[in-house]
Symmetry: C2
Subunit: 271 residues, 2 copies
DNA sequence: TAGTGGTCTAGACCACAGC
DNA sequence: CTGTGGTCTAGACCACTAT
């Protein structure tokens, strides 16, 4: 009972009306994608439900399976459906969006909480957990530039994977000049109450400012796995530079977050 | 001269070594995509150059055209190549990233410049141009919530398309309560020197704070056209709320930017 | 007119999930 | 075992670009 039998008729008729037909024909796979998307937003296929199988759609629309797959690939890349091999295609539930307040970086907020991530957890009411790996390397061009040190200088690198209620939500990598971290708890996995920034200040580097550079891109395949992202969902990237009294950058922190789960919330004075 | 003849042989052999072969076979289309991607990063196919045609790749790899297309679709969705009907597929040049400084919202900066967008142009050294459309509508749930007004209240809506040196770089839509804009230049296309914020302040609504909510997503098909985006490139979304003395929200501004061309730069006090 | 990508067919066989 | 998606073939014809 192909919805597209009419489309195919249009295609034949087009030869006769080639000049008048300025509006391009909508290809079959796109019509099917549009149709299925409409059924999803209308609620006919509720969130999380199984949509018809590829072979069923072949029957319903009267088109070949590659064309059906082409349509489903579109919806997959849009993040509308989630396909599982051997099981079927499901309407992808959209997670709730959390706001990450960036003014949490103020000294007051830092003293009140154990760290930015733990502070967000306290506000959001979820259980945080963090895996940490510490290593040392030579600063590359980019990190050296951001830390205002010579390329090749030894830096302490802290890789972290943050989880909320067990599910991975954020990747973060920090670089700190080794002359600041040497023989301190900053080279340990647990930096203690108040987080790394509290330790840095205790060591005499009073923080005056944070710079954050926010961008977005598609995830790498590694990020796709470790953050358990769906296809078609970009990540937010935040590069934060912590600047101490005297203007010295003391930490660079690269963060990667699912754009589907997080928004960044900045409060800026108009003065 | 198929690179993949070996892959096909592997496939046959897999039947015999099914248990030992834990590592899944890499499908042909993925091998081809990986191969082409490697040629691009190695510089064998320089930025902007034409890559071999689909039929040529069919010959080279000894696979069918749909499989070649599958590989190219991957690279297209990654934003690695740019395909033009009738011409061929090109290595996509990556535009330079501009930083948009958000502290440009301070009163000093607003007085110095003609508006945030024009101010960025002055700093960046490019020629700005803006198309504006003004209309009126009833506030929907979201806008009403952000402006702290009743849903259905009449608002003034300003749609803008900003260009840098003629190429579209940013979409913006502002909503303002009609009781603020009525009979003012805010309902005209050109809001004059200092931009809309200067006019709002002149009318007695001294601005105290901006909230910015930053997210990211794949572009809609409309945005893809108007911002001339390549496939596989997400957009950054910024929702800004301008808050006047007394805590009243006076403007909501939704911005959409190419993530490939822009990063947002925030400066936050550590105090 | 020749070469390019865009769409589509009608199959085939494989791998995975679940009963 | 059955039904699901994953991969692949060998074509066909159309639309667009450039000459």
């Amino acid at each position: 009972m192909g919805v597209l039998t009419s489309a195919r008729r249009d295609q034949r008729e087009r030869r006769v009306t080639a000049v008048a037909d300025n509006a391009r024909r909508v290809p079959a796979y796109r019509q099917v994608a549009d149709d299925l998307r409409a059924r999803i937003v209308s609620g006919e296929y509720p969130s999380g439900s199984l949509i018809p199988s590829e072979r069923e759609l072949v029957e319903e629309f009267g088109i070949s399976r590659p064309t059906v797959r082409n349509a489903l690939d579109l919806l997959r890349n849009e993040g509308v459906i989630l396909v599982e091999h051997g099981r079927g295609a499901f309407v992808r539930p959209t997670p709730t969006v959390h706001r990450l307040a960036r003014n949490r970086l103020s000294r007051k907020a830092r003293e009140d909480n154990q760290g930015t991530f733990l502070g967000d957890a306290a506000t959001g009411g979820w259980t945080p957990s963090v895996s940490v790996r510490v290593r040392f390397e030579s600063a590359d061009e980019r990190i050296a530039g951001l830390l205002a040190i010579a390329p090749g200088t030894e830096v302490c690198v802290r890789d972290r994977l943050m989880r909320a209620d067990g599910i991975p939500v954020q990747l973060a990598t920090s670089w700190l000049p080794r002359d600041i971290t040497r023989d301190s708890v900053l080279e340990q996995m647990d930096t203690g109450p108040g987080g790394a920034y509290a330790r840095i200040e205790e060591m005499g580097h009073r923080l005056t400012m944070f710079e954050e550079l926010v961008g977005s891109r598609m995830p790498t395949s590694d990020e796709l796995v470790s953050l358990q992202l769906a296809a078609g969902i970009p990540v937010l990237t935040v590069t934060r530079v912590a600047i101490a009294e005297g203007g010295r950058p003391v930490e660079v922190n690269d963060m990667v977050l699912s754009s589907e789960r997080y928004q960044l919330h900045y409060m800026l004075s108009a003065e």
